[in-house]
């Protein structure tokens, strides 16, 4: 089906980028494995999937495949597909420390650039849950980042009468 090939062709770079951000270790081979499985599944499925529906379907499939993989026992060390990259920036390490469900929401929103309703569709949750999880993910990331945490605390201190006000309320 030519239309499908077009759409999947356009979508593939975006699936790869999202996969790279999502997989354990962020290795290209592990991420591309997920993308390939996703594409094969999408090509086999009978439903006529086009356009944004296809995008939602593919991201959902990729996320399910990744969850399955995360549940599976760790592949013995040395497998190049799962070995983490040797030098991961600190930002990525903090990202990886987030619980998977929070990471999924955050990456779908920021890296994949999906609209909030689409994120809700992909994860099959209510849109209110999307917002709650986004807030949690972002606050956790801030807390894990020493620099950001410092500036947040500086903001607290800088707040005129903030501390005394809190004490009064207490």
């Amino acid at each position: 089906m030519p239309g499908f090939a077009d759409d999947i062709g356009k979508l593939t770079p975006h699936l790869r980028r999202f996969g790279r951000a999502l997989v354990r270790g962020h290795g290209p081979a592990a991420a591309d494995d997920l993308v390939q499985e996703t594409i094969v599944l999408a090509a086999r499925a009978d439903l006529p999937k086009r356009g944004p529906t296809l995008a939602v379907w593919c991201f959902a499939a990729l996320i399910r495949l990744n969850r399955l993989r995360n549940r599976a026992p760790l592949v013995p060390e040395g497998d190049p597909a799962t070995r983490p990259l040797p030098f991961l920036p600190k930002d990525i390490l903090r990202l990886d420390a987030l619980p998977l469900e929070l990471r999924e929401v955050l990456l779908l929103t920021t890296v994949a650039g999906l609209a909030y309703p689409q994120v809700a569709d992909v994860l099959q949750v209510d849109i209110a849950v999307v917002f709650t999880h986004l807030t949690q993910a972002r606050d956790l990331l801030t807390r894990a980042d020493p620099a950001a945490a410092r500036s947040t605390r500086a903001g607290e201190r800088g707040r005129p009468g903030g501390a005394s006000h809190l004490r009064l309320v207490k």
């Binding site: 030519p2 077009d6 062709g9 770079p13 930002d91 920021t110 972002r138 801030t142 950001a148 947040t152």
Partner: protein
């Protein structure tokens, strides 16, 4: 006018992602101005957004691995008919094989991809992937105006481009930082005094190079880069190809090659920007190469 209690998670996240209406965003910004703590939190969220996007942005510009190209996808089961008849679309008049080739060209053509990515970024949060719109007609021409691939040198150059420049880890054996070493190696293997052609005037900086096997012995494959894009230059001692720059592109092959010869050497420039780009810039590249591998008169 106090909004302090009126902003919920949807507002805060929408503000950071740029997805709430401007009036609401302005009101929120105003309330943040008088609340340093909340502002620090939102600023941190914004920085996270930036760093998450930039960390993985380069993946979009990587050439697709062969196994993910649309040609590698198994076709859908023809026995399972679509649930409802599809609306006829203008572009479906084209024969399927050419169309598939068009997709291959599309996903690998640097320029088309850049254009698409910019479009996708512009519509972040809506459709995001440009799947709603029809195929750009220009991409069809790229597939339709296919030129049969011929010429052993061009073939080898395209092959080298595919194999080495599609490698995300190690594209060259010796990098530009080791240019003197690379130069000594090339001179030794090509058996002639060498010089690395300078394309910096054309916006391409030297990345590095390696030696490849050719029918007449060692050949040099030099790589130039412009951001994520790559240009290959294959230099061979066999003076077989035509003397005029000829631009060719293989069937379903996104890599365009221009080749010529002179001074006892043959050259082939490879680019994944497409044949049109190479046809326009081939002469300038050829002029920049000049006679790089010819013996130079040493100036004391």
């Amino acid at each position: 006018m106090s909004y302090d209690t009126a902003f919920d998670d949807a507002d805060l996240n929408g503000f950071v992602d740029g997805r709430i209406d401007p009036a609401r965003a302005a009101a929120l910004a105003e309330s943040l101005a008088s609340d340093p703590q909340a502002r620090a939190r939102i600023d941190a969220w914004k920085r996270q957004n930036e760093s998450l996007r930039t960390m993985f942005a380069s993946v979009l510009f990587e050439p697709l691995p062969v196994r993910l190209l649309p040609g590698a996808i198994p076709t859908r089961n023809p026995k399972a008919p679509a649930a409802r008849p599809r609306e006829p679309e203008a572009h479906e008049a084209a024969p399927p094989p050419g169309r598939l080739a068009g997709v291959v060209v599309t996903t690998s053509l640097g320029m088309a991809l850049v254009g698409f990515v910019i479009g996708a970024l512009g519509s972040l949060g809506t459709d995001g992937f440009g799947l709603g719109d029809r195929l750009a007609t220009g991409w069809r021409h790229a597939a339709a105006g296919r030129i049969p691939a011929s010429g052993a040198l061009a073939e080898r150059a395209a092959q080298a481009h595919r194999i080495y420049l599609g490698d995300g880890i190690r594209q060259v054996e010796l990098t530009a930082a080791e240019e003197p070493k690379l130069l000594r190696w090339l001179e030794h293997r090509l058996g002639a005094p060498a010089r690395i052609p300078d394309f910096s005037r054309l916006g391409w900086s030297f990345v590095g190079g390696r030696i490849l096997p050719g029918p007449q012995g060692a050949e040099a494959f030099l790589v130039y880069g412009n951001g994520a894009e790559r240009l290959g230059l294959l230099v061979s001692r066999s003076p077989t190809p035509p003397t005029e720059p000829a631009v060719r592109r293989g069937a379903a092959e996104p890599i365009a090659v221009a080749s010529w010869s002179g001074g006892g050497f043959s050259y082939a420039v490879t680019s994944d920007r497409g044949a049109d780009w190479l046809a326009r810039n081939g002469q300038a590249l050829r002029d920049s190469v000049g006679a790089p591998m010819e013996p130079e008169v040493a100036v004391p």
